[in-house]
């Protein structure tokens, strides 16, 4: 029972990370049809910025916030300065984000080296709380709380604001949104910046949980986030939340109860199963 509780909460922590990365990816894909590899770069950027700022100022929270802001600004710049030039050609856009990811990762390596750098995580994050006898590090709760907060804020954004409406409508039928006199490109920029900010949040939290930042941190998480996006349904915000929970828990349980590494394989099989039986994903409308 104790281990089950531990596994469940750890799995939910993992799910929280997946959700933070996947929700942005999913909205970006849904709206702009761009499979955004650069998302991993924003994630790494968030981790390193948090590491730098936290190291200099001593405040981990400040590090997270600065990381998110920097990433959001860079995300907006990427969309307006580069992606927009491709005029909606999807494959070149994907290629562009691949190039950005490769160049950015190499840049980080050139500046900070290839090795992982220790992250000055606040001590309280590693302290343990007992839940039903299971020792749970506080960092897991931080992950879960961050994800829930983001979910609430994003839900309010999507349902209560005009830009939220534009995003939801744009995922469904982009040309019709423009035919209502709306410059949908502004929503692109917004979603790109938002997604980058969330990726940076995930990046700094990963760094805190793992106690280190490294140049390739982004890519590893990105692949699972892609899987979550597909399982949840491209463009579906709630779908990515559901899929993140499913994948996080499944991965954690299988890794523990079956064999280490098996959980990751099971997730891949789940993806294949979903694609073959329900290609639009759990909550997706249709696949592009």
């Amino acid at each position: 029972m104790t281990t089950f509780v531990l596994m469940t909460i750890t799995g939910m922590g993992l799910a929280a990370l997946y959700f933070l990365v996947a929700s942005g990816l999913s909205l970006i894909f849904g709206l702009m049809h761009v499979l955004n590899f650069a998302h991993a770069a924003f994630l790494t950027l968030g981790g390193y910025t948090a590491w730098l700022v936290a190291g200099a100022s001593g405040s981990f929270l400040l590090g997270i916030v600065v990381g998110m802001l920097v990433a959001a600004a860079l995300g907006a710049a990427t969309e307006t300065g580069l992606l927009r030039r491709m005029h909606g050609d999807h494959v070149p856009q994907v290629l562009l984000t691949v190039g950005l990811l490769l160049a950015f990762t190499a840049l980080v390596r050139a500046i900070f080296g290839s090795d992982a750098r220790p992250m000055p995580t606040p001590a309280w994050m590693n302290q343990v709380i007992r839940v039903l006898d299971a020792p749970i590090p506080n960092s897991r709760f931080v992950l879960i709380a961050a994800a829930i907060a983001v979910w609430v804020v994003m839900t309010i954004f999507l349902t209560r604001t005009r830009y939220g409406l534009i995003v939801r409508a744009g995922v469904e039928n982009r040309p019709m949104v423009t035919a209502l006199g709306i410059d949908v490109r502004r929503a692109f920029t917004l979603v790109f910046a938002l997604g980058a900010g969330l990726a940076a949040l995930a990046g700094s939290l990963v760094a805190a949980v793992q106690g280190a930042v490294s140049p390739e941190q982004g890519m590893t998480l990105l692949i699972f986030a892609f899987i979550v996006v597909i399982i949840g349904g491209l463009g579906s915000f709630h779908g990515s939340a559901l899929a993140a929970l499913l994948v996080g828990l499944l991965q954690e349980y299988t890794n523990f109860y079956a064999m280490v590494g098996m959980g990751d394989l099971v997730v891949v099989l789940l993806l294949a199963g979903v694609l073959l039986t329900r290609p639009q994903g759990l909550l997706g409308r249709r696949l592009v």
Binding site: L165, E172, N173, M176, T178, A179, L180, G181, I182, D183
Partner: protein, 242 residues
């Protein structure tokens, strides 16, 4: 030519490997309804989409004298163009109210009273997701989006398609009412509707303009209607009286 609200000249559209529109040239007079007619697949919908920049196009489109042919879709729409597309294209995941809210344009009054008066059903259903509405209700919503703002021109693409006859009549009357407020370019296959509404007519054939003139002249010309629309006047008249 001064009363021309919309002037289209040499509009060409190529979609993929097919050249859909060839040098399409016509005008829409201010006030009243201009019908855009032709058999299936001659490029009527493509003309609409080309005007709005929703399909890649070359040529000139002037709206009230201003060249809008290089503008993006939303910029054209902001100049006072409403679009009611062929298959309604309401946002299925949004509620009726959200669909209307999205259509609100800055710099224009939002005539909810007008819209709800014309379509009381929409007021009843305003909290419902548009995807769960019936076809007729979706068409009301699509039309309502076009009437919500102050528009100079309303592009309406086959509003009668797939609707029950009594609904067709209802929509025709609604359109007849709004022609006082806005100029309409109407794509329509149903000649009864055309007869009721249209002042002018433009007929397309295989991506080219084949006939322009007064709608009444067109409908009284057996040869033209049979040749270009595939319907005899007799049939059309019969349809009109039934």
């Amino acid at each position: 030519m001064s009363d021309q609200l919309l002037e289209v000249s040499d509009l060409n559209v190529v979609l993929g490997e097919s050249h859909v529109l060839h040098d399409v040239t016509f005008g829409v007079r201010s006030g009243g309804v201009t019908a855009l007619l032709g058999r299936n697949g001659v490029g009527k919908t493509t003309t609409m989409r080309g005007l709005l920049g929703l399909a890649p196009r070359t040529g000139t489109v002037r709206l009230a004298g201003e060249d809008v042919s290089t503008l993006l879709t939303h910029e054209i729409v902001k100049r006072g163009v409403g679009f009611v597309p062929e298959d309604r294209e309401v946002f299925a995941g949004l509620t009726v109210q959200e669909n209307l809210k999205l259509a609100e344009r800055r710099g224009s009054a939002h005539h909810y009273d007008r819209v709800y008066e014309l379509f009381p059903r929409l007021r009843e259903r305003r909290g419902q997701r548009a995807g769960t509405l019936s076809g007729g209700e979706q068409q009301m919503l699509a039309l309502a989006r076009g009437l919500l703002n102050d528009n100079r021109l309303l592009l309406v693409d086959e509003p009668s398609q797939g609707l029950a006859p009594y609904l067709v009549t209802e929509f025709t009357e609604v359109l007849a009412q709004v022609t006082d407020l806005v100029t309409v370019l109407l794509v329509e296959q149903n000649l009864t509707v055309v007869r009721r509404l249209a002042r002018d007519a433009v007929v397309l054939d295989q991506g080219r303009v084949a006939w322009t003139g007064a709608a009444a002249d067109l409908l009284s010309d057996e040869q033209v209607t049979r040749g270009l629309l595939g319907v005899g006047v007799a049939a059309a008249n019969q349809e009109g009286t039934s």
